[in-house]
């Protein structure tokens, strides 16, 4: 199992959700975060000076999925969240060793 953490533009959340749904991926956890990338946020011009607004609101989507689903999900997120401009976000993938349900005793152990 892997966990995919995608940091996207908040205004793209609906599109991403819809695109994932279409492909059959439902479960996810969403958090409101703020962030900056390598571009250090957004530069505003103000009377000749540059003012950097460095903490931009972003939406973080976390999905724990089977190993084979990682690629299609990344593709789907990219397709639906991309604008081509700085600030589109990043996707991070890391390992999950165990997924346990709370409602019942179901468990999936990653080998």
């Amino acid at each position: 199992m892997k966990t995919i953490k995608a940091i996207i533009r908040p205004e793209k959340l609906e599109d991403v959700k819809a695109a994932l749904e279409e492909k059959g991926y439902f479960p996810m956890t969403v958090t409101q975060v703020k962030g900056r990338g390598a571009q250090k946020g957004i530069c505003l011009q103000y009377r000749g000076k540059q003012i950097v607004v460095d903490m931009i609101p972003k939406t973080e989507i976390e999905m724990v999925v089977g190993d084979d689903d990682v690629r299609p999900i990344i593709k789907t997120i990219r397709a639906s969240a991309r604008t081509g401009k700085f600030g589109d976000g990043k996707i991070f993938v890391s390992p999950i060793e165990l997924v346990a349900a709370i409602r019942n005793d179901d468990e999936i152990v990653s080998e």
């Binding site: 793209k12 957004i42 505003l44 607004v53």
Partner: protein, 398 residues
């Protein structure tokens, strides 16, 4: 005539209550924009009020209520409030000036709907000063200052054309000139602080009692009539809009409060001329009409963002016509269409049409000029970051 302490007390308090409507508009609008622009919306209302306050006492009052020039504008007699004294009929002239000031203030605040979430602050200030001078002041003169509309016999008790048609159709013109918010139509831009909007709406409903009843300029039966029909129309508008939106989906609280505002707008010109049962119809139909106008606007992809046009513009138009329909001589001395007076209805139609045309065209021209000279709109980055940060250097958790 001597001053009357009851009337004077009444209009002083009414002035304060109408003043509170201006931040009320700010809160009402502020709750409907994305949180990154909430400070900007509220601040623009304050700024509108502040600049109009100074404009009004220096020149605006004179342009509106100075001696009539060709039916179009007032003379410069009252510049800097010279000659505006503490005498008057029932209330001091100075108090009348002040009561009119708060009307001018809120009108500019309503106008911010059309440029919400994308206007450059400095340009708004210039635009606002031009607008209140070139649009509001003449319209106030036409209706109440001895201008052609009042002379013609057009009825506008508390500002249907002067306040609502002007700001509603003005906002439409602004929205067209400034263009859509980036992302409009592509992703949802739903109201994020509805509690704030409902609070703003409460202050509006509260202040509107003073707006309409106070327009009698005395604490008399006419004021009481205005008070009663105002509340009825608000309630009626709230119910029909809620009902209509219920049929289409869920009855939102925004619909409820928008319907109340629609009812309040529509009764504004009429409240000194119509009775309680007419008010049920006026408000009820306003709720439906303005809701329809909103849906129409959305369908057309027009980003007149906070619906000043749909609610104030169309509601004001309906109110002007409804005055010509439901007016009853028993209440305000003039009969309307239902009592067989077609003439009055036609006058109302002419008056409203002229106000629409004037407000729309003049606002369009002013906006174009400001846009050319200094740019009406913030940059794409500034818009993305939000006006709170880009225009005010502030942000708020709520």
């Amino acid at each position: 005539m001597v001053l009357d302490t009851g009337d004077t007390a009444f209009i002083i308090i009414c002035t304060a209550m109408v003043m509170l409507m201006t931040p009320g508009v700010g809160l009402f609008y502020g709750g409907m924009v994305r949180s990154k622009n909430i400070i900007s919306m509220i601040a623009m209302s304050f700024i509108a009020f502040a600049i109009v306050s100074i404009q009004w006492v220096t020149i605006g009052y004179s342009l509106s209520f100075g001696h009539d020039i060709s039916g179009f504008i007032g003379g410069l007699d009252y510049i800097g409030l010279t000659g505006v004294g503490m005498e008057g009929e029932g209330i001091p002239d100075m108090l009348f000036m002040m009561f009119q000031l708060v009307f001018a203030g809120i009108t500019l605040a309503i106008l911010t709907s059309g440029i919400a979430e994308r206007v450059k602050l400095s340009s708004f200030i210039v635009l606002g000063l031009l607008w209140t001078t070139l649009v509001y002041d003449p319209l106030a003169h036409w209706a109440w200052g001895g201008g052609w509309a009042g002379e013609l016999g057009a009825l506008d008790f508390a500002g249907g054309t002067v306040v609502h048609i002007s700001s509603g159709f003005g906002a439409l013109a602004l929205a067209i000139v400034i263009g859509k918010r980036s992302g409009f139509g592509k992703y949802s831009m739903e109201a994020e602080n509805i509690t704030t909007t409902l609070l703003g709406g409460s202050l509006l409903w509260f202040g509107w009692f003073a707006f309409n009843a106070g327009s009698a300029l005395a604490a008399n039966g006419l004021a009481v009539n205005a008070l009663v029909v105002t509340n009825i129309s608000a309630a009626s508008g709230a119910i029909t809009w809620m009902g209509a939106s219920w049929i289409k989906g869920k009855p939102s609280s925004l619909g409820l409060i928008s319907g109340a505002v629609a009812g309040l707008v529509a009764i504004t010109p009429a409240c000194g001329f119509v009775g309680p049962m007419s008010a049920i119809i006026i408000g009820g139909f306003a709720g439906l009409l303005c809701y329809g106008a909103l849906l129409f606007r959305v369908r057309k992809g027009l980003d007149e963002s906070l619906d000043a046009w749909a609610i104030h513009g169309m509601g004001g138009l309906w109110g002007a016509l409804a005055t010509g329909i439901f007016a009853s001589a028993a209440i305000g001395g003039v009969d309307g269409l239902i009592y067989g007076n077609t003439h009055q209805f036609l006058i109302q139609l002419i008056d409203a049409s002229a106000a629409i045309l004037y407000a729309f065209v003049m606002t369009f021209i002013i906006a174009k000029i400001v846009d050319k000279v200094m740019g009406l709109r913030v940059t794409e980055e500034e818009e993305y970051v939000g006006l709170d940060i880009s225009q005010h250097g502030e942000s708020t958790t709520a």
